[in-house]
Amino acid sequence: MELDGFTVAAQVGNFLLLLWLLKRFLYRPILEAMAARQQRIAAALAEAQAQAAAAEALRQDYLARQRDLAASRESWLIQAREEVAAQRQTWLAQARTEVDEARERWRAELEREQRDYRQTLQREAARRLLALTRRALHDLANAELEAHMASTLLARLQTLDRETRQTLARAARDGCVILTVFPLPEPQRRVLTTGLQQLLDPGLNPEFRTDPAASPGITLETPSQRLAWTLDSYLDGFAAELQTQVLSEGNSGA
């Protein structure tokens, strides 16, 4: 066991040299690399934490929006249901109104048709009744009936007002004709002549004529006036009255 002073000194120098070399080429680079990596990892962790925080914030925001959306959805649904119900009521009321109007129109139309039909029926009945009456009266008409009708003519002349009778009398001075279908018996002619002279003009001398084609009855004709009481005129008046009555009933029914 020997100790060499130069070797000891050289080994101290060698160790210090190795210390310097390793410090320069090993420890410092390694520690710097580790520190850099740690910083990078810390930065990455910080970034990850920031991103996680941002993600959490986004998640919370999303959840809040989801809750708001759910609440809004409920309110929207309630509002939509109310609107639908209101619209349904509106449409139902509108439909009821339209149905009522249509029903009213239909009923009015039906009533109108019924009225028209009734009027038509009544007209047709009246027409047929008149035709039947006319034919029956024509069939039943004879000289005796016309004689009775001459009395009726005189009765009608009596019912005329004074002015009308004067107008008729002035017209009769220019000529007066008594027209019948059948020849009047002589007594009836005299009664008529006497009656006309008393009612119109004492100097009146009527001319008696017959016309088989005319309506049964008696007609007083002057050049400007005509006074008739025939079955046709009677039935025509009756038909006019009947028509007026039918129309007035139809209008009152409407």
Binding site: L3, F6, F15, L18, L21, L22, Y27
Partner: protein, 232 residues
């Protein structure tokens, strides 16, 4: 058969005596520095690490943790010194299995030089941390009467450091040499394998003791407040 590589003289000029210890020391230094330079020349701070960089980072971080655990303070200031001690001694001891290589740690001059470095490092770090007066006050603790014993303790532990390492390494090599004469098969290989283990353990012990001595000097001021200073 030589006991110490100091006895293998390669070159002599005056007092300059270049022996095998210095030669293998330089070779070891060149190997360590070259490896460190080669590995750290392509360090990566991003992406995947190379296996060598990973190994170096494990070593450096392991050394940091060991120093922090032992010294109970920041490992930064001590790391280069302690880790260099460990790497140098471990490299010398492990390279002992290479035929023809004589570990410099088998030289008392080398171990003495390393112990002297530790001897100087203790006041260096102590003064750097607490100042000259604060450090010198350590030798008067717990009473000024302990000053001679403290000084003897400093010298003794330096001597113990040097002799312990020298003795272990030198004896390991000597045992292998003797076994080669007695039983040339199997046993030398086993002893070499055992030498690898003991070599690493010796490097670890040397580094740990150096850490303890330096840390004790650095942390002495805090410890004198409530506790007695540990002495190793």
């Amino acid at each position: 058969m030589t006991i110490s590589p100091d006895q293998t003289l390669l070159f002599e000029f005056g007092f300059v005596r270049i022996n095998a210890t210095l030669l293998f020391t330089w070779l070891t230094i060149a190997l360590l520095a070259g490896l460190a330079r080669w590995i750290t020349s392509k360090l990566s701070t991003t992406g995947e690490l190379s296996p060598w960089q990973n190994l170096l980072e494990v070593l450096v971080e392991g050394a940091q943790n060991q120093i922090r655990d032992i010294a109970r303070q920041d490992a930064g200031p001590f790391l280069p010194f302690i880790a260099t001690l460990f790497l140098f001694i471990a490299a010398c001891n492990l390279l002992a299995v290479v035929p023809g290589y004589e570990p410099p740690t088998g030289s008392l001059s080398t171990t003495t030089a390393l112990a002297l470095c530790v001897f100087c490092a203790v006041p260096f770090y102590g003064i750097r941390r607490h100042g000259v007066r604060g450090f010198l006050r350590l030798y008067l603790e717990p009473t000024p009467l302990m000053l001679p014993l403290n000084i003897i303790g400093e010298l003794a532990r330096t001597l113990a450091l040097a002799v312990r390492l020298y003795g272990n390494v030198m004896s390991g090599g000597l045992v292998v040499a003797i076994l080669l004469l007695v039983a040339p098969f199997v046993f030398p290989a086993l002893m070499h394998a055992l030498g690898l283990l003991t070599g690493l353990i010796q490097a670890y012990i040397f580094a740990v003791l150096a850490t303890v001595f330096i840390a004790a000097a650095s942390a002495a001021q805090e410890q004198t407040i409530g506790h007695s200073q540990p002495r190793l």
